[in-house]
């Protein structure tokens, strides 16, 4: 039974690339991404495949890692070109009204603790920027929006892939190596500078999660019926 399992996995290993191409092209948003952001689309595809080979397969060789890092730089650079806008962190005029009003509440409650220049700088400048940054970051963690989001026109998966995505994400989290974590952190960091729809930056990671989930499902299926 053990050998059979191994054989099945090897068979599936050969078809990884096919699986990647299938996953990367089967959703309607692939067309939108490839036409609107071609550089991001191509680098994402290359990066996701090399990332997969480096972190989740036996093909973890030095040369793969080097190319993976290079392609990741491409993803990061194209994200900066297309999506990143640091100015989104600056408060709008309506947000400034709220910040000014809140000063009154802080003075009432915190008195002198609030009135020194460090506190004023923190509450008037740092806190609002950090808050907007975190709100932007939050969009990449919005699981519901990947399947039904109204605001996110690019990333919308079919409901039927939900179990596959969940299983794949779990596999992704549990098997990720340190270099993979660094890539994830960089993408999360960049998403903070994208107004609202930062989840597009997770496109390569979504492909990997879906491939991992599909592979797991196919392997279980093959073991059951072989």
């Amino acid at each position: 039974m053990g050998n059979k399992k191994k054989q099945n996995l090897q068979k599936l290993g050969k078809s990884d690339l096919v699986l990647f191409i299938l996953v990367a092209t089967m959703f309607p948003w692939t067309w939108n991404i490839s036409t609107s952001y071609p550089l991001f689309f191509i680098t994402s595809l290359v990066f996701s495949y090399l990332f997969y080979l480096s972190c989740f397969s036996t093909l973890d060789r030095r040369v793969v890692r080097i190319f993976m890092v290079a392609s990741f730089c491409g993803v990061a650079a194209s994200s900066v070109i297309y999506f990143v806008k640091p100015s989104t962190l600056l408060p709008t005029s309506s947000e400034e009204v709220i910040i000014n009003k809140r000063q009154v509440f802080f003075v009432y409650e915190m008195g002198k603790v609030f009135s020194n220049r460090f506190s004023l700088f923190y509450f008037d400048v740092v806190k609002p920027v950090v808050y907007k940054y975190m709100i932007n970051v939050s969009s990449v963690f919005d699981l519901a929006s990947y399947f039904s989001g109204n605001s996110n026109v690019f990333l919308r998966l079919f409901f039927i892939f939900l179990p596959v995505f969940v299983v794949g994400s779990y596999q992704f989290l549990t098997r990720l190596k340190s270099i993979g974590w660094i890539c994830v952190f960089v993408l999360v960091f960049l998403s903070g500078f994208i107004d609202g729809g930062g989840s597009i930056i997770f496109y390569p990671l979504i492909i990997i999660s879906l491939v991992l989930g599909l592979k797991r499902a196919l392997s279980s299926f093959a073991n059951k019926y072989d």
Partner: protein
């Protein structure tokens, strides 16, 4: 006293402080649900009946709906001893918030696999729940949810114990059934979870069929009051109001169901509102997000294998009742699930601390983490929430009540169009005679108490104060002070109807919120 016991007491004391500190004054007012529990408790103490004159109800009719009964009956105790105060109305939620921290500790000691980690994991879990925004926030207002999750947590503790010692099963079913009388969500969760739990652990219960039957009997007996009013419309009134059963769409249901698993909704701000947490605050702190992922990765490894199925089953079932409503993410309705996430986050923190070698670094890290959490919560809740959501808690009417002391001999009319809770708020805070109020509200008893047809706007006549929706005919009342919000009457309208300005009330968020005019009817305007 052992170090472990000392730390546990310290955590419980911290939890109690965060839940009871300024409980009577923040939120800065009293919500309609809170005053309803408070006044019904007061009315039962005085007359044995609720404010409508119903003897010891199964569900309490209130503002167009029905409130679960456990909290009202429990509130009798603080109202009796502490009087008709805001603190008394909120007391049990605060206390159950502390009880939840204790229950979390004991549940954690059962869940964890390795003996040497039991105490550490239990202390970390109880600390996580003691500090979590959702746990503090909902413990500081009378929303029944904390009571529901508190009783549910005790039932989970007993169910976990019953897997190895079946004698705990009847106690578990007692608390599980009781939780259905504490909050709406548990009605669905308990009924779905119990049979599946028995199915999952059937091997453990096979040899003790008698105890299982006894437990099931306890469950059925406590559920009987629900059955008694099953067909009346009262039991499902709340679901009718907030639910989507009439226009049920499977994909919408899945969409709402998924919202409760989305890290965005759990660790980031999802907006203001009564069902949400305080401003700029998520259900859990954002800093807990990496711990959550670390916890997810290591959960299987650290938690006892025999409880994996139990935990997964709970995680899958607990958001169902919240997803059945038509609202988006509404944490109050999924507190049981949110509580369970605390165990995952705690695994993450435990794993993280285990990586550190020096003891003092661990202590310093936990201290810094706790301090930063408390600071974030202080800014969000004790400052921003206090002011920015003061309107939702009728802060202006609390200020008005003090002002009305100056107008004791005058007839007062307060417009309740936009806040139907004003009359009952004053009835509770002024200890208005329940017998008289029951007479006034007796017209609401037709159709019958549990009919499900409940009028939202009621007229309250409390001595010289009359509370009801305002109409311009009221400008013809003689020697009366009429009070309403800026939407009730503009300055031009007041001038047109010959009203004389008396005073205005500014809410603590520096918004003009109430204006008072005295009537001065003229023959031309009021001839009809």
């Amino acid at each position: 006293m052992t170090k472990k016991a000392f730390l546990f007491i310290l955590i419980v004391a911290l939890a109690a402080f965060l839940r009871f500190y300024m409980l009577g004054s923040i939120p800065a007012g009293i919500h309609a649900d809170e005053e309803s529990h408070g006044y019904n408790a007061f009315s039962i103490i005085q007359t044995g009946k609720d404010r409508y004159g119903q003897s010891f109800p199964i569900l309490f009719r209130s503002f167009g709906s029905y409130q679960p009964p456990v909290l009202t009956y429990l509130t009798i105790i603080p109202v009796y001893f502490l009087g008709n105060t805001v603190f008394a109305a909120r007391f049990w939620d605060g206390l159950f918030g502390v009880i939840l921290v204790g229950a979390t500790y004991f549940v954690s000691t059962i869940l964890i696999k390795e003996k040497r980690l039991k105490a550490s994991y239990a202390l970390i879990s109880s600390l996580v729940i003691a500090l979590s925004p959702w746990a503090i926030f909902y413990s500081r207002l009378t929303a029944e949810g904390t009571l529901g999750v508190g009783i549910f947590a005790i039932s989970i503790l007993c169910l976990l114990l019953s897997i190895n010692k079946v004698k705990y099963f009847p106690l578990a079913t007692f608390f599980l059934a009781l939780s259905t009388h504490a909050y709406y969500s548990e009605r669905v969760i308990a009924v779905v979870f119990l049979p599946l739990f028995l199915l999952l652990y059937r091997k453990n219960f096979k040899k003790n069929v008698r105890v299982v039957i006894a437990g099931l009997l306890v469950f059925v007996v406590i559920m009987l009051p629900h059955l008694a009013i099953l067909t009346t419309g009262a039991l499902t009134k709340r679901l009718d109001q907030v639910g989507s059963l009439g226009t049920f769409n499977f994909f919408d249901f899945i969409k709402r169901y998924l919202m409760y698993y989305s890290p965005r909704n759990l660790f980031f701000d999802t907006g203001k509102g009564l069902g949400r947490i305080s401003p700029e605050m998520g259900v859990y702190y954002t800093v807990f997000l990496p711990l959550f992922f670390v916890g997810l990765v290591n959960f299987k490894k650290l938690i006892d294998r025999s409880y994996h199925r139990f935990f997964v089953l709970l995680i899958l079932i607990t958001p169902v009742s919240a997803a059945l409503t038509s609202d988006g993410f509404y944490p109050l309705r999924a507190l049981d699930l949110i509580w369970l996430y605390g165990f995952v986050i705690s695994v993450g923190l435990l794993v993280f601390l285990m990586k550190l070698t020096k003891y003092w670094i661990k202590v310093a890290l936990v201290f810094v983490l706790s301090a930063s959490c408390i600071f974030s919560f202080y800014v969000s809740y004790f400052v921003l929430f206090k002011y920015e959501l003061s309107r939702s808690y009728g802060n202006e009417y609390m200020l008005l009540l003090k002002k009305l002391d100056e107008y004791k001999g005058r007839s007062i009319l307060i417009d309740s169009t936009r806040d139907p809770g004003v009359g009952l708020r004053y009835a509770y805070l002024t200890k208005y005679d329940p017998v008289d109020l029951q007479k006034q509200l007796s017209s609401q008893m037709t159709p019958s108490y549990y009919s499900g047809e409940v009028k939202r706007n009621e007229v309250y006549s409390l001595g010289n104060i009359l509370v009801r929706p305002f109409s311009w005919n009221d400008a013809c009342l003689r020697d009366t002070i009429i009070i309403g919000d800026p939407a009730t009457f503009s300055q031009e309208q007041a001038k047109e109807h010959n009203l004389k300005f008396e005073f205005e009330i500014w809410r603590i968020d520096v918004e003009k919120s109430l204006v008072a005019y005295s009537t001065n009817p003229t023959k031309e305007q009021c001839s009809n």
